[in-house]
């Protein structure tokens, strides 16, 4: 496979039919772009995750947002808040201090007593003040000295701008972050990325064709891939991360082709340079595409829609990119030539390759063994410490329900009460729990001076019925209200999930989505690990180097490991954004491994010395890697400016991982490859 392919005839064919190639590409591109449904691009995180939950399970649920109003407690301000809430009622259901009923001990003394409830509805200011003082422990989730809290139930996620129009009071929402991307936002971001890439390429290669070809390759690959994904998965909402994956993958192999063509014109014509570029890169490019497909197909077939979409976002640009690199790119580049070809950082690469050849083999083996042990340790650590693994940036209200199943309503109520007490004991951030079970407990504390149990529950239910407050008895729901700025919500969801309580389901949209995310993320992480191993095995088989199983695993895992250490140190959660960043890093790393290995082994096959082979490898495989890393680094960093927390995370994580990957691939991968060289090709 290291024999040079004769690409002269092939290139001749491409150049002869380049107009046809351009026309066909343009037609396919146009058809694709016309068939892309922009509405199938998820505008926000929740839209994307909701589709992973069956509509039956989520259509009745509402988002619950906590609105905080900063006011001084006086009659005038309270009236303002009341009016504000009345306005909200036109569009939303609300829960506030103005519509509460609390059970209390009505005691006339000397045995004359009963349980009764007091309602805050229609109370004037002074009565309300007394009411709040009387029930301070229960009303603190609705009002304190400086704030009034209103809980709003909505079909769609609520943002501050939706509410601000109703009032001029000083208000804030729990989920204040912008998580909404309009079509305009997506267009603006896409254009910004393309302009950035265009400028960077021109700056690096000092020729307009570098910028133009890169943009065209990215655009055509991405558009065709999106169109195909939408054909394969017609109603699936794509996340912006799918698009970022497409952009990253489309850049990778392109750069190997382009760089070789650009630099070879130092002493060759444009056509000769094209020929050489094709010769050197066709085989590794095909290998990359094949290895990608083989390693991901198994995951595609067993995965959820999210995983399918992610694997397609890697497989399709690999295939489309390969076809474009074989047809469109040579056709395009054949019309241009480069007069001044600066070979970037040549002196540095010479020094690095000279030093690398004389590496300490023992140290490498120790490093590999230590890294494997560390991987095992990290897996163990992550399996133990779960507190910070999944955090929630969204609101601090969580609702769940206990459905009937095989239990009677009494059993459900008791189960609900006991579960609530357990949660209160375990999670210190829980400010209050509102539920019918808590109401029943309030009643039994008054009537029997006991907490709710299977004996006194009947009497408590009777009082609910007597006072006409039993309409929620058939729906056992608990609403958990957390302290402000609490990050415990997803931990609680995780905890409830793990308890496997029959009939328990989350009853607000946010929690349902978090639950779905949590289930997906677990699967995504396992898929990533399986893929790492598969890749390493396939690479070692392809190059007939069994040692590359550990070598490749080591090189591809090390950036992820380094990143995991950072997450662990800073107690950052494992989220889908981390997975996306890791997927991009893995794609880059495995691509680099294949190109590096091919280039080095091919040079050794043609009797070049270790040092010369390494130099050529670093020059012609390493430089494209550095350039693509550099370009993608800035591409992902732009995401920080999006203002959307999930995208910011993807941007930062991917940028960091790409840098880590590049450093490891440039410094350690060559040594691993040298280590695997058994001098079969000694001069």
């Amino acid at each position: 496979m290291y024999e040079l392919l004769s690409s002269k005839n092939y290139l001749g064919f491409v150049i002869k039919h380049k107009i046809s190639i351009f026309i066909i590409t343009a037609i396919i591109f146009t058809i694709s772009i016309l068939n892309i449904n922009m509405d199938l691009l998820a505008k926000n995180e929740n839209q994307f995750w909701v589709q992973n939950i069956s509509s039956k399970n989520i259509s009745n649920e509402k988002y619950i947002s906590r609105l905080t109003i900063n006011i001084d407690f006086n009659e005038q301000n309270i009236k303002k808040v009341k009016d504000f809430e009345s306005n909200l009622h036109f569009n939303y259901k609300t829960d506030s201090i103005f519509n509460q009923k609390f059970w209390y001990h009505n005691d006339s003394g000397e045995g004359s007593e009963s349980v009764s409830f007091l309602s805050s509805k229609n109370m004037d200011f002074h009565k309300l003040k007394t009411f709040i003082e009387k029930f301070e422990d229960k009303s603190n989730i609705y009002i304190d000295k400086e704030h009034v809290y209103i809980y709003i139930y909505s079909d769609n996620k609520l943002y501050l701008n939706d509410i601000k129009k109703y009032t001029d009071l000083d208000i804030s929402l729990d989920n204040n972050d912008k998580s909404y991307m309009s079509n305009n936002d997506i267009y603006i971001y896409s254009v910004a990325v393309l302009i950035l890439i265009f400028i960077l390429f021109i700056a690096m290669f000092k020729h307009i064709i570098a910028g133009v070809s890169s943009i065209l390759m990215i655009l055509i690959t991405s558009i065709i891939s999106i169109a195909v994904i939408q054909i394969i998965m017609p109603s699936y909402l794509l996340h912006i991360t799918n698009i970022l994956l497409l952009i990253s993958i489309s850049l990778l192999d392109y750069l190997y082709f382009y760089y070789r063509w650009h630099n070879t014109q130092f002493d060759k014509t444009s056509i000769e340079a094209l020929e050489q570029s094709l010769n050197r890169n066709i085989t590794p490019a095909i290998m990359t595409a094949l290895i990608t497909i083989i390693s991901l197909v198994s995951i595609y077939s067993i995965g959820s829609d999210t995983i399918k979409a992610i694997t397609l976002s890697i497989i399709l640009p690999s295939i489309v990119g390969l076809l474009l690199n074989l047809f469109f790119l040579p056709a395009l580049l054949s019309s241009f030539s480069i007069k001044y070809t600066d070979i970037l950082l040549n002196k540095i690469y010479n020094k690095i390759s000279a030093k690398m050849v004389h590496y300490n083999k023992k140290m490498i083996n120790i490093a590999i063994a230590a890294s494997v042990l560390f991987i095992v340790f990290m897996i163990f650590e992550y399996s133990q410490k779960k507190d910070y693994l999944f955090n929630s940036q969204s609101n601090s209200v969580l609702k769940y329900s206990l459905n009937e199943g095989n239990n009677s309503i009494k059993d459900q109520l008791l189960l609900s009460y006991n579960l609530e007490q357990e949660l209160k004991g375990k999670f210190s951030d829980i400010k209050s729990i509102k539920s019918i079970s808590q109401d029943l407990n309030d009643i039994t504390k008054i009537t029997n001076n006991e907490t709710l149990n299977d004996i006194n529950i009947d009497e408590a239910i009777f009082f609910l019925e007597l006072y006409g407050m039993d309409n929620e008895l058939n729906k056992v729901e608990s609403k958990i209200i957390l302290e402000e700025n609490s990050l415990m919500k997803t931990n609680i969801i995780f905890y409830l999930n793990n308890k496997h309580i029959e009939g328990l389901s989350f009853a607000d949209k946010d929690s349902k989505i978090s639950d779905s995310k949590f289930n997906q993320i677990k699967f995504l992480m396992y898929s990533l690990l399986i893929d790492l191993v598969l890749l390493s095995v396939i690479i070692s088989i392809t190059f007939r180097k069994p040692i590359m199983i550990t070598g490749s695993l080591f090189v591809n895992t090390l950036p992820l490991l380094g990143f995991a250490v950072l997450l662990h140190i800073y107690k950052l959660p494992l989220t889908i954004e981390v997975f996306i960043a890791m997927a991009v890093s893995m794609a880059m790393s495995s691509n680099a491994t294949i190109h590096f290995m091919y280039s080095y082994l091919r040079n050794r096959y043609y009797k070049q010395s270790e040092e010369k082979s390494l130099k050529m490898t670093i020059l012609f495989s390493g430089t494209p890697l550095v350039i693509s890393t550099f370009v993608l680094f800035f591409t992902f960093l732009i995401l920080i400016m999006s203002g959307i927390p999930e995208l910011k995370q993807i941007g930062i994580y991917t940028a960091v991982l790409l840098l880590l990957g590049m450093i490891i691939n440039m410094l350690i991968l060559p040594v691993i490859i040298l280590n695997s060289d058994k001098n079969d090709y000694s001069a």
Partner: protein, 210 residues
């Protein structure tokens, strides 16, 4: 006589209380003794002076319980036989399949509120059957009303109860001297003391399936 000595010893133990003596144990012992004497009373075996002592013990027990704040509700299964023993004195409301046993004081405002709620809610009357006994609270001068109601025929008691507790009608002539009525009430009182009915209204709920 031996019973009296036991009672006095018990009472003395309270007067010169040893801190090591557990109040709960004393209350339990006192309650047990009251139980025994009540049973004798129900059989008609108690002498007059013994009955006076029994009354004294009940008052003492109430005070102790109140100060100790130990009001433990008797389990329903244990209470049921007592209800059966005074079944002929119950006033029933409703036709439901689930039973509620209630002790009310006709002059107590919370008892009145409770009876009014039941009176107004037909659906609650269809779901539950209320077995009501009248049992006074010390602070209300309800005995004449209680005797007056129990002096009526069973079929008339409910309407009268509504008159007094729901409509709050005043009854002009409450004088009742019927010994049987007084004795019947004492039966209720004895049972109620045994069961530590310390407040009004006091409920026992027996849901279907229990």
């Amino acid at each position: 006589m031996p019973k009296v000595i036991l009672i006095l010893l018990l009472l003395n133990s309270l007067l010169f209380s040893n801190e090591e003596i557990n109040n709960a144990e004393v209350i339990a012992a006192l309650q047990n003794q009251i139980n025994i004497m009540n049973k004798s009373y129900l059989k008609g075996e108690l002498l007059d002076e013994e009955y006076s002592e029994l009354k004294l013990m009940k008052i003492r027990l109430k005070e102790m319980i109140k100060s100790n704040s130990i009001h433990k509700k008797m389990p329903f299964a244990e209470a049921l036989p007592y209800f059966e023993s005074i079944k002929d004195l119950e006033i029933t409301i409703g036709t439901g399949s689930e039973d509620i046993y209630v002790f009310v004081d006709p002059m107590c405002p919370h008892s009145r509120a409770f009876i009014s709620l039941i009176h107004d809610k037909e659906e609650m009357q269809k779901k539950y059957k209320y077995h009501i006994w009248l049992y006074r609270l010390q602070k209300f001068k309800s005995i004449p009303y209680i005797y007056y109601i129990y002096n009526k025929k069973s079929s008339e008691r409910l309407d009268l109860l509504y008159d007094i507790m729901v409509k709050e009608n005043k009854i002009i002539s409450l004088k009742v001297s019927n010994t049987e009525v007084i004795n019947n009430y004492k039966k209720i009182e004895a049972i109620a003391t045994l069961m530590d009915i310390y407040k009004r209204p006091y409920l026992f709920v027996n849901k279907k399936g229990n």
